[in-house]
């Protein structure tokens, strides 16, 4: 029997249990990566069912098919242009109206559709009773009730999907109709659009043109610039009738249809009463208790990640140290053997001991915070504080994690919606002094100059973040948007989903970041092996000695600090021949050195994450900026401090 392949895509709002459906369908046959060239997660997997091999793509959770976010653009391009065989629209039964607003937009794209009416248990608890057959008739597509968390209804769902696939393509019998005056103009425009090849359904293109959708306008007007005038006049006619802007009219029309369908298929059986989760929801955003709970949760997350990380990192290091001596007893210790270990194996070890021990607990914590619904509460509470640096509440998570390690910090920037906010948050996160930099600040300035100076450096860094944040906010192009987000009801996070998320995201991280770390290490070791470091030290002395006022030997630890910042101190001790830095460096030199270390470059692992999230160009831009900025600030600081102290 020939293999029968079906491609299905899961689409739906955020927080509807889409990833739970995905996990149930695909089990361990899944793969998490990025959409080509985009910082949006792409999850796909396969499932075998009654002789069919079904490829499942989990589209990002979105509320509309407009151009608000990358996720929305990716989803609509994928659905319309790649044409999966069947779209499964996962719908949260307890928020039916808003979910149907999205379903209606999927219907506009004229693809074969099956609605998975999920979380009916939650809806029932809220006192809602949904007639799914009636809903199916009204929408014109099959509706399968299910409770994904318990696996109920998912087999029926797959059966329905195959049935729809077998029946063939979408028959546009069930357009929801807009008002007469709008339909008339859509028809006129559709006739015109039919002559242009776009790959999208003509009616959809017509509707989007009337909505003044920037992407579709670009697509059409590049081929048919003459159509612009016609579209404008039709859109203005509609606006005249409604005295509203046309995108607003279309949104209202869709909501009218959604709300009517929801009303006709929904019966409220019992009045909603505040349950436990409702009370928890208001307690966690309370103006006093909310903050207390947040401090408690966040500090335990922070503490948890870093105690686990430190412990594992330490024990792994010991294991590898032992391995190293075993390695040497077997192969001897000729320079070539040394090079193999230091240049190749050391890189892998660094990846395993530095990055992984922190990333694993971070992924677990993030997954739990996300799926439980607590993350939006934190964003809610921290919003006003972060407005001063041009970010909104969600950015609190990456910035806070940055104090531990910038690697998970930069990864957490994905929770920001637009590319602009993601980039801004990542940039600021790399400037937060992570644990490794804390080692240098406390170990050098704190120990030898005084704890007050160390704290002053922290305050100075906060000031810089504030200042650079405001600057970047002004300079970066794009419209800044305040906080608009859903506050989902609390859910018990599923252990299985958390474990799978962690595992598959880790796989992705290792694939992208490890090669960079290994290559970076190899390059540095090669430099050392060829003994070009003294040459670099001499040639760069204009920078270290003349501009920054540091001893020339500091260049070497600074170069190696790119790899691990906490190593700079150890290496410096080795180079100057003593651990008592006070004998070889002045207080000013120590402060300047610590400042430069604090700012000068994200470490290799962080750069790897930046590359993974934003591509090489932006990662290099951040890196170069920070090198230049650190040198500038260090030099100015040296000159100012020299004025005050004669040390």
């Amino acid at each position: 029997m020939a293999e029968k392949r079906v491609v299905i895509a899961l689409a739906g709002n955020a927080n509807v249990g889409k990833s739970v459906v995905f996990n149930h369908l695909t089990g361990l046959h899944q793969h998490i990566g990025n959409w080509p060239g985009k910082t949006v997660e792409r999850a796909e997997g396969t499932l075998s069912f009654e002789g069919y091999t079904i490829d499942v793509i989990d589209l990002p959770g979105i509320y509309s098919l407009s151009t608000y976010s990358l996720e929305e653009l990716i989803s609509r391009e994928y659905i319309a242009l790649e044409k999966p065989d069947v779209i499964v629209n996962v719908v949260d039964a307890s928020v039916l109206e808003r979910n149907l607003f999205f379903t209606i937009q999927l219907l506009e794209l004229e693809t074969p559709l099956v609605v998975a009416l999920n979380q009916i248990d939650v809806a029932t608890k809220k006192g809602m009773k949904i007639d799914h057959e009636r809903l199916g008739k009204l929408l014109g597509v099959p509706v399968v009730p299910c409770v994904a968390t318990k696996g109920i209804g998912l087999e029926d769902l797959v059966k329905k999907v195959i049935e729809v696939h077998e029946k063939g393509h979408f028959h546009p019998l069930h357009y929801h109709r807009f008002g007469f005056e709008i339909e008339e103009r859509i028809e006129k425009l559709t006739a015109l659009v039919e002559r242009v090849r776009t790959g999208y359904p003509p009616r959809w293109v017509a509707v989007k043109l009337l909505e003044r959708d920037a992407e579709v306008e670009k697509l059409i007007y590049s081929q048919q610039p003459a159509m612009k005038a016609k579209v404008e006049s039709l859109a203005q006619e509609i606006e005249q009738i409604h005295s509203e802007s046309s995108p607003a009219i279309m949104a209202s029309e869709r909501y009218n249809v959604a709300s009517q369908i929801a009303r006709e298929s929904l019966a409220i059986v019992a009045p909603t009463k505040a349950g436990l989760d409702e009370r928890l929801a208001s307690l966690t955003v309370h103006r006093i208790w909310g903050y207390l709970i947040m401090v408690l949760v966040m500090s335990s997350v922070f503490y948890g990640i870093f105690t686990f990380g430190d412990f594992t990192s330490g024990s792994l290091l010991t294991i590898f140290e032992n391995l190293r001596s075993i390695f040497h007893t077997i192969f001897g210790s000729s320079p070539a053997v040394e090079f193999i270990w230091d240049g190749l194996i050391e890189g892998v070890i660094a990846g395993i001991t530095i990055a992984l021990p922190y990333i694993v607990p971070f992924y677990v914590a993030m997954s739990i915070l996300e799926s439980s619904g607590y993350l939006p509460r934190v964003a809610f509470l921290m919003d006003s504080a972060l407005h001063s640096i041009g970010l909104h509440g969600k950015a609190f998570i990456p910035l806070m994690l940055g104090y531990g390690c910038c690697v998970p910090g930069c990864m957490a920037c994905r929770i920001m919606e637009t590319e602009r906010e993601r980039f801004l948050a990542s940039f600021l996160t790399t400037l937060v002094p992570c644990a490794a930099r804390t080692v240098v600040i406390l170990g050098l300035v704190g120990a030898y100059v005084g704890i007050r100076w160390a704290l002053l450096l922290y305050a100075f860094d906060l000031l810089l973040i504030f200042f650079l944040g405001r600057l970047a906010f002004k300079v970066l192009p794009g419209e800044p948007i305040g906080l608009i987000m859903e506050m989902p009801s609390y859910k018990m996070p599923s252990l299985e989903v958390t474990a799978k998320h962690t595992w598959f995201r880790l796989e992705d991280f290792v694939r992208v970041a490890f090669p960079l770390i290994v290559v970076g290490n190899l390059a540095l070791k090669t430099l050392e092996y060829l003994s070009v470091l003294p040459i670099i030290e001499r040639t760069s002395s204009f920078l270290t000695v003349s501009w920054l006022g540091l001893p020339a030997v500091t260049m070497t630890p600074l170069i190696f600090g790119i790899f691990r910042k906490e190593l700079t101190l150890v290496m410096l001790a080795a180079l100057v021949g003593t651990r008592n830095f006070a004998t070889v460096m002045t207080g000013t030199q120590m402060i300047v050195f610590a400042t430069v270390v604090m700012l000068y470059i994200p470490c290799v692992a962080t750069i790897a994450v930046l590359v993974k999230e934003f591509g090489y160009r932006k990662a290099i831009a951040i890196t170069l900026f920070e090198i230049g900025f650190a040198i500038l600030v260090g030099g100015i600081m040296f000159r100012i401090l020299r004025l005050f102290t004669a040390v």
């Binding site: 928020v95 509203e244 802007s245 995108p247 208001s282 919003d383 909104h392 305040g482 987000m485 859903e486």
Partner: protein
Amino acid sequence: MSTSNIEEYLQTLYTLEEEQKTATTTEIAKRLGFAAPSVTEMLKRLARQGYVRYEPYKGATLTDQGRRIARKIARKHRILEVFLHDILRIRKGRAHTQACGMEHVLSDEAGNSLCRMLRFPDKCPDGKPIPICDEDVEHCDACEPTGENPSRRERLLPLCSLRPGQRAIVRFIRGGTMAVQRLHDLGVTTGTQIQLKNCAPLQGPVEIVVRGSALAIGHGLASKIFVEAC
């Protein structure tokens, strides 16, 4: 007592109200540069005309009638400031003095046309909010240049000034296209009923319930959504 004089007093009271300060005679005297006794005299007169409530030693508060006039004047003043500062490049202090003179002779129609020309600013150069107009439109984009928009009857207030638990209907959304689009996608369209659930302290976001789902909206955005309490 001239109209512009009355308008200056009412505007000062309005500003004090915005800053959540009590309008004492001394405070008003300081701001307007008059002597305290003449301010007391003036407040009594304004009270007789029904624009303010005045209690000796406590201060004055605006009546609804007074606030309506004050809002209009504050709106014109701040729009003029934006025009003088952003377009004519006049320095802030001088723009303020100039606007103080012009605001009393500017017609409503010209004020609203200026607002359209400046692409619907929401803050004056000093960062104070510009009160919304009373034309009956649902979005700034739908504002017609004819000057014949019907007048709004209801009293609109920004979403962020609702009390927790209070219900209201969205009537007008001011501001950037992307944000308005996002609000629409999440179900906040004009004519929709919403309920305020929580607000975070220190000008934090508000949490509302709309179409059965809970949304958090940042303070900046929430102050651009105008509702009619019900």
